[in-house]
Assembly symmetry: C2
Homo-oligomer: 409 residues x 2
């Protein structure tokens, strides 16, 4: 007998019909001889409505009270989901984050999970034949204050539960039917992957694949939880996210990704001194600007350096504020921001043991007449910053060059 | 320094403006040198919306899941109320029924309070200067399942908290400004009472005064909690509900009440035998029919009896079903139902030590040309069943006869 954790997001629970559909999936999994735990998010729009209520009261709601408020969204979902399973004649019980003892720290709005204390209660309900419905996204601190987990919270609850219960698989039901070799809206030949390794998925997530938040993938990796991403609307098999296995040689590049709406910040003629990078990036971080692909070049003689990094275009103004602040300290420094950029990347664990990926990518971009502005590489990623207008063309060229439309052996 | 519990119902919290108004009341009480605990209901309509969601899923929601669902209504209110107090620059913390350790039995939908375990947490927050906002209507059983208290639940939470914390007063904010000597919509001269005794209020509540549910008054009586019923909309003093004090001689009748939409069931020629009443009323209770003012007359010789009792007109059909069922057992019995009745009552603890109340009431009704169908009396109530058309006239006549429009000394 297996044990499955299924997670349904807000769009999969938007109305009574969709809740019944999700309930049928859970029941079917149980009839297929599994014990089933279902993790649910708030119904689509509920969270927005609750946030709106709070902002009708005050423009600066306290984080604690916001969590107290928002947690009701998932509590509504679990009760309705349990009712839907009852309606179909099966046993179910709903449990809040507090009721499963999902203990977190006290960082309201972005709490981290510490442990799940009421594992025994869940297992005992499963043993009695109930489908156990758990509220995602929420927990309690040691004083039983309600906390929420922040972005990707329900996925994180699902993976944490799967880890704690030793589930065979954590199924993430979503509005896409799996992980693709590239965004199929841009690359017509993009192929649904049967599996992807945790590290690859982590890179793809940070490169803009919005299927799952990297936090839950990280957790899955740490506890070796097989995550299966699949569609709420079809029965087609989705994509497994798994640990690296021995067939790792066969595929060098798993997928390609395009991140749009980027800008590049260049700090030119920075007086070079110890602690320079820390000084710059703490200023930038203070403004909430997320940076990527940092390059530093120290000029001959070592008196000055050039520093550059990628930011999201939306953060441009905050970056300028940080730059002006830095200018007071770093005499002679100039800040240049290049806009309308995009980044095309290829990702694959196989790169660890293969060379020539970067050059093959550069060649593909050259053939497609795409100019490369910046290059950055890590162990399993090669990224090229290109002009925004070239982004989609670049992605298609790279996808083709690595034959990502071909079924892997 | 005093300690006040304030309770706001759903209509007093229907929108952001009303929530801010309630918040200002709590703050004002604190500035008047009190520690303040606020108990809130769900915002007006929220409960209806949640019930509607449940019935979109199933026509028979489980009681446990219904409680899990409905409890979110008060949780939303406490968070918003705390935010409103923060917005005004004061400290506040919201706590659910579970967070104050309001332990109940497991009777979902109509749970009884057993104890409040986290009294220390509340007192410590009050000591730190916070206004403590508590979700009414809800608690948890020993396994931390969420339970709700049923009708009058938030009032009951407020009174229980006031008892547990030894509060000076439990203020119930509502859309009327106190308890009246009679319904002022019917009796223009009706007067707001400065106080009323628990037992009188219990009788008035059962006679249709819908200001408070008898359950919370009973609790107040048992723990000697002074309850102050007052308006959410004005600063006028309301009515205290208190224990009987020594000035009890001065007023014989505290108030008069009219209960409309009644019917009278008469069972004629019932074969008299031991256990007869139990047989009849267990059948009636099985149909959910609430009975009042039972009269039994055994005929000469003792072979047959007549039995009659009052029911709400809405229960007529169920009473007929019960009557048909009883007819099979009680050969020769006939059931007659008289409709379009009302009951006028006078209530006063002073009756315990005064005679002549009943005759004065009969005289008043006679003068007003109202015919009396049935009479029933208890220690502090005299009730007369009259024709529905005579109801309001009867109430006014009785109110005048006992000079209830006069200020008591």
């Amino acid at each position: 007998m297996g044990l499955i954790v299924q997670k349904f997001g807000g769009t999969s629970l938007a109305n009574a019909e969709k809740i019944h559909r999700a309930a049928r999936r859970a029941i079917r999994a149980q009839l297929d001889d599994n014990r089933v735990v279902v993790v649910v998010s708030a119904m689509d729009k509920t969270t927005d409505e609750l946030v709106d209520l709070a902002y009708q009261i005050t423009d600066r709601p306290s984080r604690r009270e916001m969590d107290q408020l928002l947690a009701t969204g998932e509590q509504i979902s679990i009760a309705l989901m349990a009712m839907a399973i009852h309606h179909a004649g099966h046993d179910a019980i709903s449990l809040t984050g507090g009721q499963i003892g999902l203990r977190t720290d006290r960082a309201f709005g972005r709490a981290r999970i510490r442990e799940i204390t009421e594992r025994g209660r869940i297992l005992s309900q499963l043993k009695q034949g109930s489908i156990v419905i758990v509220a995602g996204f929420q927990g309690v601190d040691e004083a039983l204050n309600i906390t929420t987990l922040g972005r990707g919270g329900s996925d994180t609850t699902a993976v944490a539960l799967a880890a704690s219960l030793g589930a065979d698989v954590c199924e993430i039901y979503t509005d896409v039917d799996g992980i693709y070799s590239a965004d199929p809206r841009i690359v017509p030949g993009a192929r649904k992957l049967n599996f992807v390794f945790y590290d690859e998925m982590l890179e793809l997530a940070s490169l803009g694949a919005q299927v799952m938040h990297s936090r839950s993938i990280e957790l899955g990796k740490n506890y070796d939880v097989t995550i299966h991403v699949r569609s709420s609307y079809t029965d087609a098999k989705g994509t497994d996210i798994v640990k690296v296995s021995s067939d790792l040689e066969q595929v060098i590049v798993r997928g390609a990704a395009l991140k749009k709406d980027l800008a590049r910040v260049e700090l030119v003629g920075v007086p070079n001194r110890p602690g320079l990078a820390s000084e710059i990036f703490s200023q930038v971080a203070k403004r909430g600007v997320i940076v990527d692909d940092i390059i530093q070049v120290v000029h001959e003689g070592g008196a000055t350096a050039d520093m550059s990094f990628t930011i999201e275009a939306a953060d441009k103004e905050q970056a300028e504020v940080a730059g002006a602040e830095l200018g007071k300290e770093l005499t002679g420094m100039r800040m240049i921001i290049k806009e309308n950029l995009a980044k095309v990347s290829v990702v694959g664990v196989g790169m660890r043991t293969h060379t020539g990926v970067a050059s093959r990518m550069f060649e593909a971009l050259h053939q497609a007449d795409v100019n490369i502005e910046n290059i950055s590489t890590s162990e399993i990623v090669v990224s090229c910053v290109v002009k925004a207008v070239d982004g989609e063309k670049a992605l298609r060229a790279v996808h083709a060059a690595f034959e990502l439309d071909q079924e892997s052996k």
